[in-house]
């Protein structure tokens, strides 16, 4: 099992690619199959997009720090930001069974995060650093 890895980037959308490469490599090292790797990449991409867009209210307002920690049976990704605290209970998550023609825009990012990961914990902080803990379990042993 490989070690904990950290990446810190400035909150620009153009860094989403770097973030994706970072978590993709970590998920592969943690023995995940390509479906699981893709799921982790997508959940993290959605979460970081939300941090830039909503927590910071735009690009270039703060940093995003990611920590990848292999677990005995999966991978934990923790994402830190210093933006506005966020309580997910207050926003409606997309219902994918609602007809696509009449959906209100938005809500899709959180839907994917919850749907793709096995554990999702927003830990807002009014003083300092928000944390989002994401855990993906492996289906198969590496």
């Amino acid at each position: 099992m490989s070690r904990r890895q950290t990446l810190t980037v400035d909150g620009y959308y153009k860094n989403l690619k770097k973030i994706a490469d970072f978590v993709t490599a970590a998920a592969r090292q943690a023995g995940m199959d390509e479906d699981e790797v893709y799921a982790v990449q997508m959940a993290v991409d959605e979460a970081c997009t939300n941090i830039i867009e909503h927590a910071y209210g735009g690009e270039g307002r703060g940093k995003i720090r990611l920590t990848c920690q292999p677990l005995p049976n999966g991978l934990q990704v923790t994402i830190h930001d210093q933006g506005r605290p966020f309580d997910p209970a207050k926003v409606p998550v997309l219902n994918p069974n609602s007809p696509a023609e009449t959906r209100s825009p938005g809500g899709m990012g959180l839907f994917f995060i919850y749907r793709l990961m096995d554990r999702v914990e927003f830990q807002p902080s009014s003083a300092g650093e928000n944390r989002l803990v994401l855990v993906k379990q492996r289906k198969t042993q590496p």
Binding site: Y13, K14, Y38, E46, T49, I52, R103, P105, M108
Partner: protein, 111 residues
Amino acid sequence: MEVTHKQLRRCDLVTVSGRIDAATVKQLSDVLSEIKNAGRYNIVLNMKNVTYISSAGLSELIDTQNTCKQLNRGELVLAEVPDRIMDVLKLAGLTSLFKIFTTETEAVGYF
């Protein structure tokens, strides 16, 4: 990400490759807007070489479809959608919103 665009007689063919995320989606939406602003609403989007699409990309597709379908003036259809991207469309319940063709030819030939 790369976006190319070719105007055909009955529809516009847009080919997008690479990652469609919050950073790159603007490039795609610029091309789609240009087409819609020209009063053209029959669009084929070839996704053959798309490696990733986030909700930002999906929102752009939904918006474009809604604009195109207004007043029955047209439609956005998808072609050569990779399995991975198809899974994402299914997960989000979007497969009924788009006609999806296996080949680009069938998609263009639909219009």
